[in-house]
Symmetry: C2
């Protein structure tokens, strides 16, 4: 892990870009001491900060930056470090012709009003999950080796299949916020039964690109003893501010 | 409306029992000034307090008192007055033989593993709704005439069909927290489409006495542009503390 740039944001959050091999990423850490004029709520605990991994859709870190930095600032105000890495095939990382073919097939099926086949979903999502999850685990190795970061670790948002697989296989993830906003391959659905950490699942009730019943079935399948589903009226990008606040509160309850 | 008793609780909340004709009720109002050692969050606004109507299951006010007073204290800390009245057929109010017959039929159907027919649900719930809703409206008339209480009004909890009908017909109700925890007659389901106020709906995912799919369909039917569903793992009485907190925050957002 190599830091490539560093800047202090106006609220005192330290933002550092890094590379992990070929993979770019960003780490945000809360100010060590309260910044004058800012009242953190609740006050950050002293010592290493717990970490939240910020998931995101495969649109490239640069495009996602404004939303990611908002979430990172909010997390820092709650006393958390947060970090994210570029997904395979996104941003400046090498394209993946098979995934782009699957995306074209998906678009064609949706435009033709046809059901989206399991084959398309598998081709679109499984290679991404297979490659991304070990990368997030490597990032976790590197991040947890930093003295300013401690456990426990939360995962929040992004491609839900990545979150499900990560929560199922990575025992350092102690709680997860998942956004039921994209297709889930059958194989990942089965892995959901092995997830046991506390889950806070968001669902947009009228999400254009998401099958509501499949999302409810997935929620039902999770093996976690503590899980909750929060459905809000509106489309994919219409998650209300209050839902973000509630998700942040969930992570604070489980990671602090 | 006639006050029959008055006591100041240890957190400064004023609790007054009243009767409205033959119907007993309880009113809780927040302390006018902060009580030493108590930090209200957020600080109560000066002047008349907005009102939350506390719904409850038909088990009698006396039996429900511990849970009701907890909710009232929380509401008072948020700057709200809250009030409740006895449901028809509950507590010291005259029994309703038809409802008791319907309850026996329901128990028999459940014990026999038979589906609960629309006829049983109608007989159990419709007379209760038909009588209770005008009573809550009369209570609202009397409560809003008190100088210490102002608008807007919220409704929270209890028999969901009462909440649905009240939200559909009573335009002084500006927001409602509903608990999808009991059978809903078809006629009330249709009224749900006419509800337009912001809604925060709670659902216990494994509620023994509740049909999950019917609850999801009801949520879908509500006409409100702002509505959210919060499902938590567990049975009817397992609503977690954090869910109560989130519901209180919803009311604060919409009534303050």
């Amino acid at each position: 892990m190599r830091f490539t740039s560093e800047q202090r944001l106006d609220d005192g959050v330290l933002e550092r870009e890094f590379t992990l091999g070929e993979i770019p990423g960003i780490l945000w850490t809360p100010p060590a001491a309260p910044v004058p004029g800012m009242a953190p709520d609740p006050a950050p605990a002293p010592g290493p900060a717990p970490l939240i991994l910020l998931g995101h859709p495969p649109l490239g870190l640069r495009k996602m930056y404004p939303r990611l930095v908002d979430r990172a600032r909010r997390s820092a105000a709650d006393g958390f470090a947060s970090a994210t890495i570029e997904l395979p095939g996104s941003g400046d990382r090498p394209r993946q012709p098979a995934a782009e073919q699957a995306r074209a097939d998906l678009r064609r099926a949706i435009e033709a009003g046809e059901p989206v086949s399991d084959e398309i979903v598998d081709a679109l999502v499984l290679p991404l999950v297979d490659q991304a999850v070990p990368e997030w685990q490597s990032a976790l190795d590197a991040l947890l080796a930093l003295p300013e970061i401690g456990g426990p670790v939360g995962y929040s948002g992004g491609v839900i299949s990545v979150g499900v697989r990560l929560a199922a296989v990575e025992h350092r993830v102690a709680a997860a916020v998942l956004f039921a906003g994209s297709f889930v391959p059958r194989a990942v659905f089965e892995e959901a039964r092995r997830v046991t950490v506390p889950l806070h699942v968001l669902l947009q009730w009228d999400d254009e690109g998401n099958d509501r019943q499949a999302a409810l079935d997935l929620f039902d399948a999770f093996g976690s003893e503590e899980k909750s589903l929060h459905a809000h009226l509106g489309g994919h990008t219409g998650v209300p501010q209050s839902a973000g606040d509630a998700a942040a509160r969930f992570l604070t309850r489980h990671l602090r």
